[in-house]
């Protein structure tokens, strides 16, 4: 079988270094005015290099989530995965990225939906610093921030 040795590239390498240090990094383009993450080396709309790197907080909002009970080969999962698009605080609205939600009790749709809603604030739950490897999984998942309303 073939295997691939992908390069993360200029922008994602720096993003991964940030994750290893417990930081979520984004980039800004001064022409369209967007601040986005995951970072990219150039603005795909204005087709020019990005203007600035910004350190973002590790909090955000649930843009959408799902409760997934199957694997890619359609095997059932007793404990569902909860993928979500998270809009990181400080980014332009509707600029989120894919991650997972954790810290939620139960495994039924009903019990999980009682604990989560679109628009809910969340915070990253990190691996311990000595276990981080500069990967997206250095964030274990995002979990609801209780007692904070916006």
């Amino acid at each position: 079988m073939l295997e691939y040795g992908w390069d993360a590239g200029v922008a994602i390498s720096r993003f991964l270094d940030g994750l290893k240090a417990g930081k979520i990094l984004g980039v800004r383009c001064n022409v369209c005015g967007r601040t986005v993450t995951p970072p990219r080396a150039f603005c795909e709309l204005d087709f020019k290099p990005i203007d600035a790197w910004v350190e973002l907080p590790d909090t955000g909002t649930i843009n959408t989530y799902s409760i997934c009970y199957i694997t890619w080969d359609m095997k059932p999962l007793r404990k569902p995965q909860i993928p979500a698009v998270i809009e990181i605080d400080g980014t332009t609205p509707r600029a989120g990225f894919l991650h997972l939600i954790g810290g939620v009790k139960g495994s039924s749709v009903e019990s999980i939906r009682k604990q989560l809603r679109v628009g809910m604030p969340v915070r990253a739950v990190w691996r311990k610093p000595d276990q981080r490897e500069g990967a997206i999984t250095d964030i274990l998942h995002f979990e609801p921030v209780r007692g904070r309303r916006r």
């Binding site: 843009n63 959408t64 989530y65 799902s66 009970y69 694997t71 993928p83 509707r94 628009g119 997206i136």
Partner: protein, 391 residues
């Protein structure tokens, strides 16, 4: 669009294989079956065809590198100018767009367009063919599968507009019922909203009966320039407009509640077709429905419903076969089946038959004069639109 095309292009023949969970035929055999039927109904022999377009989606389904070339024999492409049209799920409608460019440009007068998909060979499950659409560094380590992105998009659509899953399940009910009248249909059924919501949750809010099936199948059409079409056909169906657009692959950075790329594709096609009031001027529509919510989402992008209002339009019967704007009278992907590229071209075959008054039990009333077909694909980023009409 810089300039409106000068040469008119017509569809003069259409053909399809059965859509089924597992065909014992090879992809070449399925392609041959659909292509030869399209040629026969057009009254054209393969040697008169000047170029061939083939649409087929991921190579990974078949485990064959460059499967467009592999399928060439079945598509009638041997020793001819041949091209593969490939934009994922959008490929079926992109195939007529590609064929249209070959004729509208004046390069050719007769072009055969074939679309094929054989998903069943892929083990243990063809969903695995899509695992590599996710970013290798920042998405794949999270363990994603294809259902994630659709369930995420459906939930965002529901949350943005306050749409209930009952409203979306009605698409499955309508399309599976419409498919009862389609002779090639794979998953036609008479169901209720309750039945759909009682089916297993695969990735909430998506239930099993809100997802199109794994399918094998093929479809084909013959395109002709105006002079040739008038010579060969009593009832040519004209390609009045085409449009396509792709949005960013940073899919999490998009507004998931609204398919802007579909709007752009539709506006290009409407401009070419001279359509200023699509809700009045489109008489029958085949929006892409691989998931139940997608039909509604796409109708909004196509400007055929207000944002967030397609579910209400559906509930009041607007999209029934006898309604004000019949949608997916074929039965769509939810009812006829979803051999990816072939499913998109199936929608254009349906318009061809509807506009010629040849759709039999599926015929929408009122002698429709203009129809729209749309497909969508890749990382939820492709919009492809074609508008056909009787004149």
């Amino acid at each position: 669009m810089k300039r409106k095309p000068q040469r008119r292009v017509a569809v003069i023949g259409a053909g399809m294989s059965l859509f089924m969970r597992r065909a014992l035929e090879t992809g070449k055999e399925l392609s041959y079956y659909a292509a030869s039927q399209a040629l026969e109904t057009a009254g054209v022999r393969l040697k008169e065809i000047q170029a061939v377009v083939m649409a087929t989606a991921p190579d990974a389904f078949d485990g064959v590198h460059m499967k467009g070339e592999w399928l060439l024999d079945g598509a009638g492409g041997v020793r001819k100018p041949y091209l593969r049209a490939y934009v994922g799920g959008g490929s079926g409608v992109f195939s007529i767009i590609s064929g249209w460019t070959l004729v509208a440009s004046g390069l050719f007068d007769l072009v055969l367009v074939v679309a094929e998909e054989k998903m069943s060979s892929c083990q243990p499950h063809p969903q695995g063919a899509f695992l590599t659409i996710f970013d290798h560094t920042i998405e794949r380590p999270l363990g994603p599968n294809l259902l994630w992105i659709f369930s995420l998009e459906q939930h965002r659509y529901m949350a943005t507009y306050g749409i209930r899953n009952e409203d979306i399940a009605l698409v499955s009910v309508k399309n599976k019922r419409n498919a009862l009248d389609h002779p090639v249909a794979q998953v036609a059924a008479s169901l209720t909203v309750k039945d759909v919501l009682a089916s297993e949750v695969v990735a909430w809010p998506v239930h099993r009966l809100m997802v199109s099936p794994i399918s094998d199948g093929a479809a084909a059409i013959v395109l002709a320039s105006e002079d040739v079409a008038r010579r060969l056909s009593d009832k040519p169906i004209w390609v009045q407009g085409v449009g396509w657009s792709l949005d960013t692959s940073y899919w999490g950075n998009r507004d998931l509640a609204y398919p802007r790329y579909v709007e752009r594709a539709a506006r290009m096609a409407y401009e070419m077709a001279g359509i200023s009031e699509p809700r009045r001027q489109i008489h029958v529509a085949e929006p892409y429905d691989p998931f139940a919510y997608k039909e509604l989402h796409h109708l909004e992008g196509l400007q055929l419903s207000d944002k967030g209002k397609a579910p209400e339009d559906l509930a009041r019967g607007r999209f029934e076969r006898t309604g004000e704007l019949p949608t997916c009278p074929s039965g769509g992907l939810m009812g006829v089946g979803n051999p990816i590229a072939a499913a998109g071209l199936m929608k254009l075959c349906e318009l061809f038959w509807q506009l010629r008054g040849e759709a039999g039990a599926r015929q929408v009333p009122g002698n429709p004069e203009r129809g729209l077909a749309q497909a969508w694909g890749d990382l939820m980023q492709v919009g492809t639109v074609a508008i056909l009409g009787v004149n």
